[in-house]
């Protein structure tokens, strides 16, 4: 293989329960194409290596695709979870009506009565991608349904992503490390969790776009080619189309550029890699309707413009330095610095004034909560309530990236590798804030551990190979290795760039000779090391396959549980949505907590008040308030919004923990954030939301409690809630303003209908005490002496 002769990367295994830590080693010579062995046999070996590499990549792609099919095999070919249903619905619309209709689609079935301009509020990348695939297949007379295409979009794109990983790692390190990283990424659990077949979400294509953009950036950085720079902005455009996470790119790349400038590594390649990306990329990003002027207006993008200015200043300084003599340059320098500082201050003052005038300082809530992890929980419960916005726990690191969390490596500090290191550091931070961003961390961890593993393998295998060769020559290599590496490390850094340019054309035979002598371990430890690495990789593979098969393949609309008497399937969601589709009027409005909005519109085809696109806090708060209010108030709120049906998800009978009672605290918090008469303290007993006998009256009278537990006591006679593990507080009650119309087989989804207003108003004799006093006279008057209940 090619990498056997690649330079040995000094590496480090961090066997600590911490996320990857990074150490910068002394720079080592980097040789990418040093495999070009001199001699005639070398070319054949190269060709063979190329074929083998391509074949391996194909297999990696297959692996990435097939490991994600567990969900289809174990369950069925369905769209998963919540957001994918919306994307699926949009794709259906796109395939039926075309791009322009999609762009101008005003959807009147969501966010009733506000409606939603889908074309202007959705990242169209995923939809357009799947729509294009569907259109292509259909024009090739392969009649696949839109749903099938949607289900398999994510696995296809994870194959693409692993190939992009190969390219990126190869660019930074070499093809061997690239293959290793690609293989690791193909089955990293974190990525699988978001891209199993059926998980038709933005992240499915966005991770590919992210890695590919980084690849093109590094490629441009290495080659200084405008062609790649232009491609890079196109790839960035695709990323902007696909996912809101593009802001990560537009902040990470400027950070890296700044790092390069600060460390004195400015070059024309850096300029070519950055300037076109910002100009073209920003123009292109502004074309995406959902981004629009945000591309130049919001604080998320300011860093890139600032760095753009700095880069030009630095470029000018370098240019002037080349023109002037050192003395003149000094004079000019002071002049420029004074003027430049003045201008900078002026611009900064204007910017600060602009930014300070906006209440959120120009940042969107989500970005702010990334910078200040406590921000959301303090001010925006709606963001804090989303489960994927919660900070992850330590086990989830182990679960999602497994051994990669402990694997990292030293790298020779080149532009490309410093970029990767920066990528890792920032993504580790962000993943620590939001569990969803673990997904961004995964490629970084894969690439770096791929490099580490391939480096380790190459060192160990080579030392075994050399051991055999040098054992006859009284093995002097190992003793020289350390000394050699030290001298190498001392002489390299300053000449780094020139050196790299030369390397890319082909390493000199002399270099080749020195490298071969580097770091050769004794045969025994090398063999043990290889064994250990293989075992480690084996564990990783086993874990990944287990995660793909067991943990992440459940579609969440169909649940299964295994007990001693076999497999139980809970298909209640589809049962309920199917019922609504067939038994309610087309224009009926269904109220539920926002989690089920997308599914209701996609599967039941009914209008909903709120859905998973949480853009209008007030509207969600209205629904939350209704759920937290007593029956009558809730009825008034709902009927003012023309609601016909109310849907609640209840897990108390079968022990399904993510039901509405467990989500109830967010309804109270979000509702109370807008409507202050909802006070969280009224629902709390000893700091807990409890629905047992100690529950507060407000809690036990809330609509959510009543709708969940109505007739619940009839199931077992005690009203034992299997999620909360106690008996409920109020067991026997009647509903006055709502009537139960449908409850699914396992009681997971319960649908209620709002009763119409009473046809008649019953008369009440208000003067009851006075009436009673005269009742004696009245009853005496009566012939039959009948008791009169109204007097």
């Amino acid at each position: 293989l090619k990498e056997t002769s690649a330079s040995p990367p000094p590496l480090l295994f961090l066997l600590s329960p911490h996320p990857p830590e990074l150490c910068f080693s002394a720079a080592m010579p980097q040789t990418q194409s040093s495999t070009a062995a001199s001699g005639g046999g070398g070319r054949l070996r190269d060709a063979f290596g190329g074929v083998l590499c391509a074949f391996t990549l194909l297999l990696i792609g297959l692996l990435a695709f097939s490991i994600r099919l567990f969900s289809v095999i174990k369950y069925e070919s369905v769209i998963h979870e919540f957001d994918p249903y919306f994307n699926y619905r949009v794709t259906q619309f796109l395939s039926k009506n075309g791009v322009y209709e999609f762009w101008n689609w005003f959807d009147d079935r969501t966010w009733y009565p506000l409606g939603r301009v889908i074309g202007g509020t959705v990242y169209p990348g995923l939809t357009l991608t799947a729509g294009t695939i569907w259109w292509l297949l259909n024009s090739l007379n392969i009649p696949l349904s839109v749903e099938t295409v949607c289900v398999f979009t994510a696995p296809i794109f994870s194959a693409n992503a692993s190939w992009a990983t190969y390219l990126l790692t190869k660019e930074a390190r070499g093809p061997g490390a690239g293959l290793m990283a690609a293989a690791i990424l193909a089955m990293v659990p974190s990525y699988i969790s978001r891209s199993v077949a059926g998980s038709y979400d933005n992240e499915a294509v966005a991770i590919f776009a992210l890695i590919f953009t980084f690849y093109l950036y590094v490629k441009t950085l290495n080659t200084g080619s405008l062609f790649y720079a232009a491609l890079n902005s196109l790839s960035y455009f695709y990323m902007v189309c696909s996912w809101g996470g593009y802001t990560f790119i537009i902040n990470l790349i400027p950070m890296h550029v700044l790092l390069c400038i600060v460390t004195g590594r400015y070059s024309s390649r850096l300029y070519i890699a950055y300037a076109p990306l910002i100009v073209l990329g920003t123009l292109l990003a502004a074309l995406v309707p959902v981004v629009g002027f945000n591309a130049v207006m919001t604080s998320e993008h300011f860093a890139s413009f600032l760095v753009f200015i700095i880069l030009h200043v630095v470029a000018m300084v370098y240019y002037i330095k080349g023109l002037l003599t050192p003395r003149l340059f000094k004079v000019a320098m002071t002049f420029v610095i004074t003027v430049g500082l003045a201008v900078c201050f002026a611009v900064a003052a204007v910017l600060i004034a602009l930014v300070a005038s906006s209440p959120t300082k120009g940042w969107s809530g989500r970005s702010l909560s990334l910078l200040d992890p406590t921000y959301a929980s303090k001010y925006i419960p709606i963001i804090a309530s989303v489960s994927e916005h919660q900070p992850p726990t330590w086990p989830s690191y182990f679960m999602d990236i497994n051994v990669l969390a402990f694997l990292s490596c030293f790298l020779p500090l080149s532009d490309a590798s410093s970029f990767l290191v920066l990528y890792l550091v920032t993504s580790v931070y962000f993943s620590g804030v939001m569990v969803r961003l673990m997904l961004v961390l995964a490629p970084a961890a894969c690439i770096l551990s791929g490099i580490a593993l391939s480096g380790a393998f190459s060192v160990l295998t080579r030392s075994m190979k050399f051991q055999r060769q040098t054992s006859e020559n009284a093995g002097d290599g190992s003793s020289n290795a350390l000394a050699n590496s030290e001298t190498a490390s001392k002489e390299k850094p300053s000449k780094k760039n020139r050196k790299r340019d030369k390397d890319s054309e082909g390493s000199s035979p002399a270099d080749h000779m020195t490298e071969e002598k580097l770091l050769v371990l004794p045969c025994g430890p090398a063999a043990v090391g290889i064994m250990l690495l293989i075992i480690l990789s084996g564990f990783y593979v086993i874990h990944c396959v287990w995660a793909a098969a067991e943990a992440y393949s459940a579609p969440s609309i169909v649940l299964t549980s295994r007990s001693h008497d076999g497999l139980h399937v809970f298909d209640d969601f589809r049962e309920a949505y199917g019922w609504m589709r067939h038994n309610t009027d087309v224009d009926d409005k269904v109220a539920s907590w926002w989690d089920y909005g997308y599914q209701t519109t996609a599967m039941a085809n009914r209008t909903v008040l709120v859905d998973n696109n949480t853009w209008n806090n007030t509207h969600i708060a209205t629904v939350g308030t209704a759920m937290a209010s007593p029956e009558k108030e809730a009825w008034e709120i709902f009927s003012s919004l023309d609601v016909k049906y109310v849907l609640v998800v209840f897990g108390g009978l079968i022990g399904y923990p993510s039901d509405d009672i467990n989500k109830f605290l967010w309804m109270v918090r979000i509702g109370g954030g807008v409507f202050p008469h909802i006070k969280e303290a009224d629902y709390l007993r000893d700091g807990n939301y409890c629905v047992d006998a100690h529950g507060t009256p407000t809690m036990l009278n809330s609509l959510m409690y009543k709708l969940c537990y109505y007739r619940f006591v009839e199931t077992d006679g005690k009203g034992f809630d299997r999620v909360r593990r106690y008996e409920i507080g109020k067991k026997h009650f009647k509903l006055t303003h709502f009537e139960e119309v449908f409850t699914t087989h396992h009681w997971m989804v319960r649908v209620y209908k709002l009763k119409p207003q009473k046809n008649r108003v019953r008369g009440k004799l208000k003067l009851k005490p006075a009436g009673r006093s005269s009742s004696k006279a009245n009853s005496m008057r009566k012939i039959g002496g009948k008791k009169n209940p109204w007097q």
Binding site: Y100, W103, N104, F106, D108, Y112, P113, L114, G115, V117, G119, P289, D587, T607, S640, L641, P756, Q757, K758, N759, R760, V761, R762, G763, K764, L765, K766, L767, A770, G771, S773, S774, K776, A777, N778, M780, R781, K782, I783, K786, K787, N788, P789, W790, Q791
Partner: protein, 436 residues
Amino acid sequence: MAAPRHHLLLLLFLAAALALAAAEGAAAEEGPRGRRLLVLLDDLAVRSSHSAFFGSLQARGFDLDFRLADDPKLSLHRYGQYLYDGLVLFAPSTPRFGGSVDQSAVLEFIDAGHDMILAADSSASDLIRGIATECGDPEAMVVDHINYAVTDVDGDHTLIAGDDLIQSDVILGSKKIEAPVLFRGIGHAVNPSNSLVLKVLSASPSAYSANPKTKLSSPPSLTGSAISLVSVMQARNNARVLVSGSLDLFSNRFLKSGVQKAGSKTRYERAGNEQFVTETSKWVFHERGHLKAVNVKHHKVGETNEPGMYRINDDLEYSVEIYEWSGTSWKPYVADDVQLQFFMMSPYVLKTLSNDNKGLYSTSFKVPDVYGVFQFKVEYQRLGYTGLSFTKQIPVRPYRHNEYERFITSAYPYYTASFSTMGAFFIFSFVYLYHK
């Protein structure tokens, strides 16, 4: 086995014949209500003692079915279909109905959109009181020592000459009832917060509610004009119910007798009862005051087809035809207070509809600059009339991407700037690259 089937067939045949007869009986236009009334009596003597009232109903085309209240074959519906369109409940003292009818059956009958006249008297049973209460009026006996009618028997002031009538042409007809209305029976209280119930005939301020045969030991619970003698209820589904505290009010004796109010010099040859019962029964059985709205249309100005969706700032026209049932035909309803709301959580546009005196109400307006799912909403509730409440949902979308202005005049400097920069850059590059 055979006998019941035979009966059944016979009944079916009868029902079919009845339906046919009804269809023939109905003229060219179909009224809002059918004409089959069930009259429930305590005693068949009432049939003759109240024959004038029944006669006036029959004269107006109603098909009366007299039954004893405890008739064991009594039934309001058969095979899911109601057999009657209205109910006259002149059985104040019946403790329970016969057959399958009970209090809840009567209430369901009303909730299904049928009408009822209920008369009670001092012997009203719990059942009758129960029904009245469910319709909104609990009851008690009324005595009035001042506004009593002058009669032969002195000292009995329970015969009241009431003239405190509701001011509504719709309920009482356009001709004013001059003579006082004779009333003897129990009064009832109406909850002022109950918007569905109206007092048609109220007691005078000097009336009170008590048992005249006994001595009052404590102040009466119901006094003055709070007492309602006759009240009507129009349910939310427009079913109408008249509750009278007096069965005698409808009797031939009261209809035919003259009246002189105590303390008043004028003596009327005929009491107001006949006019009162005729007009109110017309109202109750939807011969008057029933509105219908048809042909709700809306379209863009200059077009005729109804679009599925409007765009913001579109100009649109809305029209609806409203008719009133006159007892024989649908006549155009003329009013200047019908309002249309263009509604999304709150009314964005509120316009009074103009009419052409032929029943066509129309208006035109500009769609507000807000997108969302709107409703054309007409809520028309007027005293005595059936409520009109109809909505039509219509989404309003924002501009399409190509509906904005292409070139904005005020932006010409920017266009110039960008194109001149591009040109300058091209020239600069050309000069820089090829000029040495």
